[in-house]
Symmetry: C2
């Protein structure tokens, strides 16, 4: 059997556009004489559809789009992920097998998933029927999402097909690859894995669709982070492919894809961001230039009386290295007007209100440019500062998207190292100077925060590994410092609630459950 | 049997504080010679605990707090809502029956609930055991939350006890009251309903704990919106009480309680808000004065060149009527500095960037006051404008809390009418003038939006009733207008993602599923 794996990049909710694309790929698979073409989980609506599935109009329109696709299935089998309304049991996250304009079988997801803010159980019913479908005499075990790990049994099956929309998380590729390989080997039949690709809101999907033979060897491997059609011919299996190395370039590519799709799927072309001369804005500028083209990115340097000379030089050098547009707007005159209002004279008294208003003036300037020039503002927050609230709400937190708000500061440096692998793109000085918000004289991040390597280590044990304070202390950290950090995380929830979308490629989504904004729990 | 109903107002996460309060009420119930004292669902952690339940430290500390409570149960039965770790099955949303320092029985919630962003299934396992407990020879059917509607059967039971943390939603009291009354009558035994009271984040709990006799008549009724202990003596049942009328005063009280608890549970005392002379800021100012005391509220009027004379008069009259602090800060000089940066001269060209920056200057001024004076900024957005995105992000959307962001504009007027029931608190002119943002000459909301009665009617059919466009059109609305409104709602999701906490007393929480920020679905 010849099977086309289509790792589709759908636009969530764009039923017409997604249907057109699906039809194009079906025609392509026909031209390649495929017997069957397989699309990812919920391809027709794009993953995650979230509240759209609650809209009667949307579910009705999805039926019409499905009809259109069905009309293109003469002589080919199509295994399509879509929502399926069963009048008795509700909505399923289904895999429909369609051939010659007829749905000849279906199955659906059994173990529904909670993914950040999207709880599949809000919209779908868990499926209790069979996952066995028969196509042209071949017995297919079809699993949606993680059902492949639990619900496929040895026995009367010729192929396992796993359609998925699994968000990319850095460092998890090999583990997941091994699970699929083991499953293929255990059941002793080829396993076809087809995953969504592209960015949708805060999620990025890597694709990496692939086929394992009955020995668990990978024999087909689609490119990561690219929409494509790959072909598996069970009568002409090629040689075993090596498992690709997931290095830091994958994380960078995921961020670029997430940004690019946020813009293109929204119909936006141009971006603006503040450049401070620091490492966060430098990395975001690189991502933006890669995602949108340097001609579409504007970096704005907004010095105050507290800005150092090197900041301007570093910001300008970065803009030149990248070839992005660059503008300088001093905030001093506006800052003085605020000081006059509150201090009488245009001179500072040196409190946190004055620090924050500088960041907020910058936010206003950038939003003015955004509104006037039709550029989307991107925020340059990183995970370390967002976690502990070391950031100005309505200031540097402004933006439609926060490309690196899920990346710890120490990892920001690692990615910058990757960007500079063949020569200086990010100025060397940006990478070696101590981080500073430059909102008061001689300010350094480490005046307010622990060193970033310590902060990130503690945050990772808490956020990523779910350790208790005792367990973190057992790993060699000071109890009072750990409690201080965890209390900062809990107390700054109110800021994160108003934060822009972050592209999530680092933190484990399944561990993210919202904390209350107002609560009385404190570590001691 | 003499039963104390404690409608507790816990602070979410404050295990020590909640335990102390619970112990105080136990002692009070002992002093009243009660046999049994009943606390609401998850009393010990406060509802909704959200992600706190994922913290190992928190679950461990809750065990210690429970031990402390157990020590105070000599001679009295305590039915306590708390999370219970069962090493085999995970965490339950449980009701523990404790007497003489021993847990003598427990049951737990079967049907877990999704409540806005808190999915109980994230943290709890559904309970499959019995809900029958025996206390001093009496057979109790104990139901947590909505389990009372489905899981209590006729038969061997003497009392039904329903512990709950049901968020208040305006207009639902009678329906819920009737369900409980019918249940009591159907099973033919007294039903004791104990509900949480107070505000936690975006939710308000009304209390309204009560007891129905075996004929379904209400015989004990706790005050709504007040923490209190009520007593039911099954051997001395009083006469049947009339069902209280849920009028608009309940909605107002819920908003005031939500604000008061947000502040007090956070340890905040003072608030600041922008006064525009319009109806939204007038209502919020009234709520704040009621919640915090007029001496703790500062209203700031921030005129621009587009502000009308009546705005200033109306803002000032309101502040005087309420007795709150009042300040005037013109934004003109700061606005001119922005115009100089972007237009060269300090004169406007009249685009949306200039409109928005005025709102954002006001946001910055208010946040400056917030930071310098330790006042929490409250936003004055209403549901109508938040739904369609007729609001400036980082401008009038700034704030830690948005007291009326769940209240439609037409209902805002209704509540204002209630506030003025005994005389003018909100200036008459504020209530009769056409709404305007005053960000350009002669601007009116209706230049950009449909009349509010039409807008609110369509939004209500869509948000509250979940109707399709066809169904809304069938009720007499123009299709292109309905599509325009629904598309505005979908397109402004990005703003709502960055909005402050709204106090939710109007929209049905169970219908709120997040929409994607980036998606391609459009109504046509």
């Amino acid at each position: 059997m010849k099977i086309a794996l289509v790792q589709l990049n759908p636009i969530v909710g764009d039923l017409k556009g997604n249907a057109s694309k699906i039809i194009e790929f079906i025609e392509k698979a026909k031209a390649l004489s495929c017997d069957l073409v397989v699309f990812p989980e919920l391809s027709l609506m794009g993953y995650p559809p979230q509240g759209l599935l609650k809209l009667k109009d949307f579910v009705r329109d999805s039926q019409a789009a499905l009809q259109q696709i069905t009309g293109h299935t003469d002589g080919i089998g199509v295994l399509l992920g879509t929502a399926l309304r069963d009048d008795e049991n509700g909505l399923y996250n289904a895999a429909l097998l369609i051939e010659n304009r007829r749905v000849i079988g279906y199955t659906a997801k059994r173990k529904l998933r909670v993914l950040g803010s999207f709880d599949e159980a809000c919209c779908f019913e868990p499926f209790c029927g069979t996952n066995s479908l028969v196509f042209r005499g071949h017995r297919l075990a079809v699993a949606v999402g993680d059902d492949v790990c639990s619900d496929v049994q040895c026995g009367d099956v010729d192929f396992i097909i796993n359609i998925s929309a699994a968000p990319y998380r850095y460092g998890q590729f090999k583990r997941h690859n091994d699970i699929l390989a083991r499953t293929a080997k255990k059941i002793g039949v080829p396993l076809v894995y087809v995953n969504q690709v592209g960015g949708n809101d805060d999620l990025v999907f890597a694709g990496t669709s692939r086929v394992f033979n009955e020995q668990g060897q990978c024999v087909v491997q689609a490119q990561p982070f690219v929409e494509e059609l790959a072909v598996f011919d069970s009568n002409d299996v090629g040689c075993s492919l090596p498992c690709p190395d997931e290095d830091i370039s994958w994380m960078y590519k995921a961020l670029v894809l997430g940004v690019r799709d946020y813009f293109s799927k929204n119909g936006f072309k141009k971006a603006v961001l503040g450049l401070s001369g620091g490492v966060d804005s430098a990395l975001v500028a690189c991502i933006m230039a890669d995602a949108l083209g340097e001609e579409n990115v504007l970096g704005v340097y907004m010095p105050s009386r507290y800005s150092s000379d090197h900041s301007k030089q570093d910001a300008q050098a970065l803009a030149e290295n990248l070839g992005i547009k660059y503008r300088v707007i001093p905030i001093e005159d506006i800052f003085k007007e605020y000081l006059k209002v509150f201090n009488g004279l245009p001179s500072p008294v040196g409190d946190v209100a004055e620090e924050n208003v500088q960041a907020r003036i910058r936010g206003n300037l950038l939003m003015f440019i955004s509104n006037r020039e039709g550029r989307v503002l991107v925020s340059t927050s990183n995970r370390s500062e967002a976690s502990v609230g070391y950031t100005t709400i309505y200031g540097d937190m402004c933006g439609g998207l926060a490309p690196i708000a899920d990346i710890p500061k120490t990892v920001v440096y690692d990615i910058c190292g990757y960007i500079n692998r063949d020569g200086e793109v990010i100025p060397h000085n940006t990478l070696i100077k101590p981080p500073s918000a430059e909102l008061r004289p001689d300010q350094k991040d480490e005046d307010s925060l622990p060193p970033y390597d310590v902060l990130d280590a503690v945050l990772s044990m808490y956020i990523d590994d779910g350790l208790s304070v005792d367990e973190i202390v057992d790993r060699g950290y000071d109890r009072s410092l750990v409690c201080k950090i965890l209390n900062m995380v809990q107390r700054s929830e109110y800021k994160r609630r108003q934060a822009p979308l972050a592209i999530r490629v680092f933190s484990p989504m399944e561990k993210i459950v919202r904390n209350p904004v107002v609560h009385g729990y404190r570590w001691e």
